[in-house]
Symmetry: C2
Subunit: 415 residues, 2 copies
């Protein structure tokens, strides 16, 4: 008898899982509140870059629709706005790639449907889950950061914050010239905020995502509260002003006459993310075990671009374990957690650590930035490790580890 | 600078670790209370069979002194003394091998010393550990089931018992003819006890280890309390009597005229093991992290022959992590536990489960024995999985899983 899996939520987590399971001839039903045709009219959802590890999974799933050699980017430029600014570059071993999720998710949904995945379009509530769980061998909940997360217990030791750590202003823009190498730029304005610039494919071709991670109470916070729609020109000139002051390595590539939202007024998203880490499984009152996946399990601030990448990783591992096992009980969860946990917790901890380090600038972290700015080899490693958050955490989990990492590259710097 | 590791205890755990580290040019000092020359005069320590996974590690460490093709055994005979007795056999894919630890451990100690491992012969107390820990990059405690374990917190969820579950009577014997295939015999006398017969190399060649796992309060318990030294003939005839009654498939191969302890009166060991599972690391008052390894972390009853095998596995993983990392902190422990935990907890749980199942004989377990007795393929798998306790636990962790496993082989049985 075919295994039957129910998936609640059609984000990257649910769809990568569904596609994996269909490749293994497992019966899949996805419950979601949005149809593929709805997406093109939505406000910008996020600005997600997929690292090479995720692109490889897309390739294996047969959904690498926008190949990285054409649409991808090849490294990170870093700018640190200290009194004596530091500017440097690190390579990715394989390119990353960002596509507007308003194109990406419906593409995945159509692919999954074409491969026999069933879709049921409706809003699912917590009360529906018991009945749903009894229709499937396993029910997976991946409804993102807003819905149903509270079913899974929060892990306090991995959830240090109760509030958003940044006031976000995120948009897709035109009028920004590409850097010499097509790359992300990460610009750090000490005490004020970070800007992540991402070359992104949207409806009408390549555009530029700007993710402004503004410190709360700082000079840039206003960008999260000023509405584009109220007065587009006023918003754009305020933004340009702030970019020139705090993120000059991006501002200098902007053509003020062309600078605007790329497709229109829905291309901007403002607000904040509350980081949280939850248990990856829970038991319903009927005794059934349900699995939490993606943002439901671990929601991170977008500063390091980890959320969707770890969701896809966890979906793949969950898919493998569903195929390998046939009883979805406590022991099943043990296998699953043992395999996904290190990446998911480390992406979470590294992101949470970085949020704090970039606002408090402790000495070990400043030393790290200095050595990084001087050693291309270290910058390459740091950049490529965006694929492997657990390796970053091997370096960042204590001042001693950061120190050792720096010492390894200090000879380069001294030479 | 060379890494320096301190190891307290020179059992299989400490010595496999030491040998691994010396292969990687790491400085090793072993603290132990016994010299190599002491061992030949000791009472029998245990009757340890090394499964192929452990023999492969010995091969890699260059200490596979007694090769399995010559000294090993090739499978398990099973005898279940139900009213209609069940008798069957399962193959090991690669042979296991048992050597008297009074020969084995000094061989390892000499090998380690020859390769530059330092030895310090003294009894270490809990109070010594802080000072010791400061002399090394990392201190590993592997003093066996009697000493220093209480430094590591007990995990109640993996420690179901407060007392020994069997009254053990263990000895090395002569006068027992080998089975047709050189193999272990596992004989189960429902309600009374188990007997594990192991072809074993001792000082004067191949002998037979008998591990009598007598149920407390049953007809066989007396064997754990009757002293050989008080009256050797009386002991032997009592034993022969009980074997004939409860373990006939072994008794029938005994020549009463030859039957005796193999080397002399030190070849017998009586008592009981309290199973316990502890955290694998702890923090000393000076802030240093110490690692618990082998029986210190997990002590199991010998019924399934897992203790030394999992100790060796955990030693190897610890060795790899010591080589790979250089800061021995919380994150180090995370990597270590993630890698060793599944095998160690599953060996523990499978053993604890089996102790209870063999005395209470729940229906799912009886069904398992019945299907096992009828399906050679299943018996082969079960037997070879003594190498992989985590796979056994995939089958035994719930009645549903046992049932599924049985169903897989039921067609064989019906056919
Ligand atoms: C500005 C920004 C930038 C980001 N940048 C990156 C980046 O560069 N790299 C990266 O890896 N991550 C990034 N992220 C994070 C990433 O967007 C998320 O981690 C990822 O999209 C989560 O995927 P998911 O499948 O878990 O949830 P979602 O994508 O949120 O999907 C949830 C799904 O559930 C459906 N749903 C919700 N509620 C219900 C309900 N009650 N009933 C039925 N269906 C429901 C939704 O319609 C949707 O289909 C960014 C996030 C933001 C906000
Ligand atoms: C009857 C029996 C049969 C068994 N059969 C099997 C089997 O078939 N397969 C299997 O895998 N396992 C078996 N075991 C279990 C196995 O013997 C143990 O799991 C294994 O030997 C534990 O190794 P260890 O290195 O952790 O500890 P040990 O071998 O106990 O070594 C402890 C070391 O620490 C030293 N030491 C102790 N205290 C101090 C101190 N205070 N200071 C300094 N040094 C100290 C000791 O001298 C020794 O060198 C059996 C056990 C028994 C009792």
């Amino acid at each position: 008898m075919k295994k039957r899996i129910g998936i609640v939520g059609a984000g990257a987590a649910g769809l990568h899982l569904g596609l994996y399971l269909r490749q293994h001839d497992i019966d899949v039903t996805v419950y979601t509140d949005r149809k593929p045709d709805d997406y093109s009219d939505l406000r910008l959802l996020n600005t997600v870059a997929h690292h090479a590890v995720t692109v490889q999974r897309e390739e294996a799933l047969g959904v690498n629709e926008w190949p990285s050699d054409q649409y991808g980017y090849f490294g990170h430029y870093y700018y640190v706005g200290t009194p004596q600014p530091m500017q440097f570059y690190g390579d990715l071993k394989e390119p990353s790639r960002a596509v507007d999720y308003r194109m990406y998710l419906p593409m995945l949904m159509r692919a999954l449907e074409a491969r026999g995945g069933k879709f049921s379009y409706d809003t699912v509530t917590a009360d529906d889950l018991e009945a749903l769980s009894e229709q499937y061998d396993l029910l997976v909940v991946c409804t993102g950061k807003f819905a149903l997360g509270q079913l899974f217990d929060k892990q306090p030791e991995n959830s240090p914050f109760e509030k958003p750590q940044r006031a976000l202003c995120v948009g897709l823009f035109k009028g920004i010239k590409e850097s010499q190498i097509r790359a992300v730029t990460m610009s750090f304005s000490p005490g004020q905020g970070e800007l992540i610039e991402i070359p992104t494919l949207s409806f009408n071709g390549m555009v530029t995502a700007l993710v402004l991670e503004n410190h709360i109470g700082g000079d840039l916070e206003i960008l999260a509260n000023t509405k584009y729609d109220d007065d587009p020109q006023a918003f754009l000139s305020l933004l340009l002003d702030k970019l020139r002051k705090h993120h000059p390595s991006v501002a200098e590539r902007i053509d003020p006459d062309e600078f605007d939202l790329a497709n229109g007024s829905l291309d901007i998203l403002q607000g904040g993310v509350v980081p949280v880490y939850r248990n990856g499984h829970a038991q319903l009152r009927n005794g059934r075990t349900i699995i939490g996946l993606g943002d439901v399990q671990a929601t991170v601030d977008p500063v390091l671009g980890q959320g969707a990448n770890m969701a896809s990783y966890a979906a793949w591992v969950l898919g493998e374990e569903i195929v390998a096992q046939s009883v979805y009980d406590q022991r099943f969860c043990e296998h699953l957690e043992r395999r996904r946990q290190d990446r998911v917790t480390c992406a979470t901890r590294w992101t949470n650590f970085t949020l704090t380090a970039l606002s408090q600038l402790p000495p070990a972290f400043v030393q790290f930035l200095q050595v990084l700015s001087q050693s291309r080899e270290m910058a390459d490693e740091f950049t490529d490790n965006f694929n492997y958050p657990e390796r970053q955490w091997d370096y960042f989990s204590s001042p001693e580890r950061i120190g050792n990492w720096c010492n390894k590259f200090a000879p380069d710097v001294a030479a």
